[in-house]
Symmetry: C2
């Protein structure tokens, strides 16, 4: 495969529990939790949040609350009683969050952000910033790992479809290649679903969870392509807006 | 979902590294490593092997060799020098193995067998015994986990396609249901691939590894449906032939 020499790779990791076997400290890691953590985080930066501090445990989130921070915290889709809001992107309106710092803890998304933190760069991806993310990755010319947050370490459909959408865009560029079966599968699933993504994800377990908890008003929004050029990026222990000129 | 009450579930686990989150001691686990471990194991029982002893390490395999056992041992597709043969199903001819015990160690397949051993039953699956396996599962009316051996903990395409083929058969029976995203994805990939499986797996990394090592003579054989009614089953620490009447 001499023709692949010098080309960068894209890989898709279907679960944080598999990340140890993908890890590459020189790679850009795109964390994806379409329903709803990364869609919400992108929305927060689109609406002017200053910093977003991801924390793994509810205990940490509560300690920040006691110190006066705005706190978004949920488990299994349910807002915790001490929190200011949960995980719906609709919570992060400009009037609520502009120029403020938010502490953020979710079932799956924040864990994925933290386990990738020693890689070259951790960015937050979703349909909302798909083209901006693609442009950024192509401009950096580094290998990429798309880390799907999944659901409690399990594969999920909605993150996989986005991984396929992103991988397909990246692989249109001849400087990128893949020998990763997950990436091929994600692209094929995306191409099955792309003409009716909301119809396709009717089979997704998370779609049923959200419906049951009456949280499924965000489905169409979370699958809206290119609402913003914002790319949240992890810097030290918080997320901030990537400075792309 | 009241209509699902009492129905058994089928789930697909894409990697042994994810198995802890699927584990259900009452379930039948179908271990799958199409290229080539489980195809080879089914072949061995089809050709009259008595017992097959899966071992995790090459050290254990060598110790059995010193005690006079026939040993199949490979890593990354390469036969180890002390072993009698590697992982090709073509090694397990009747004249070589009939009524004998074989010790068996591979890169991925034997590990998957061992991690499932505390479940209700561990059976070995492949295209070669697809219908026999389906009939057995339906007759048992227990929940099923299809455990894909993958490649060094990573998702692979060829095991996933088989998982989809099996899940589709099982779910035709109204006593079974699934709320597992991996299962839906596997079925959709199987339906993309089924009319030309060998063409589809051209994109699989393992297909390239086998070609590189000149071990790809087994592709068509390993994708042959229903060559046998044999179902290897784990009993204590060895595999034997399931007694199905």
């Amino acid at each position: 495969m001499g023709s692949d020499e010098g080309r960068k790779t894209i890989e898709v990791c279907f679960s944080p529990a598999l990340f140890a076997d993908f890890r590459n400290d020189d790679a850009i890691v795109v964390v994806v939790d379409i329903l709803r953590a990364t869609s919400a985080i992108i929305t927060a930066f689109m609406n002017g949040v200053r910093r977003l501090i991801p924390v793994a445990t509810l205990g940490e989130a509560r300690a920040y609350k006691d110190r006066g921070y705005l706190v978004a915290a949920e488990r299994d889709g349910i807002v915790r009683d001490f929190a200011d809001f949960g995980n719906s992107p609709y919570n992060f309106t400009r009037e609520m969050i502009e120029n403020r710092d938010i502490v953020y803890s979710t079932t799956n998304g924040t864990h994925s952000i933290m386990i990738a933190k020693d890689c070259y760069r951790v960015v937050i991806g979703g349909y909302l910033n798909l083209s901006a993310l693609t442009d950024h990755i192509l401009s950096e010319a580094r290998s990429v790992i798309v880390l799907c947050a999944g659901w409690k370490n399990k594969f999920n459909i909605e993150d996989t479809l986005f991984a396929g959408a992103l991988a397909e865009e990246i692989l249109k560029n001849e400087n990128f290649t893949t020998i990763c079966d997950s990436t091929h599968a994600a692209i094929d699933l995306w191409n099955l679903a792309r003409n009716d993504v909301l119809g396709y994800i009717e089979k997704a377990a998370q779609r049923h969870r959200l419906r049951k908890n009456k949280l499924d008003d965000v489905l169409e929004y979370c699958h809206t392509i290119d609402l913003t050029r914002c790319i949240p990026v992890l810097k030290d222990d918080f997320l901030t807006k990537l400075d792309v000129s």
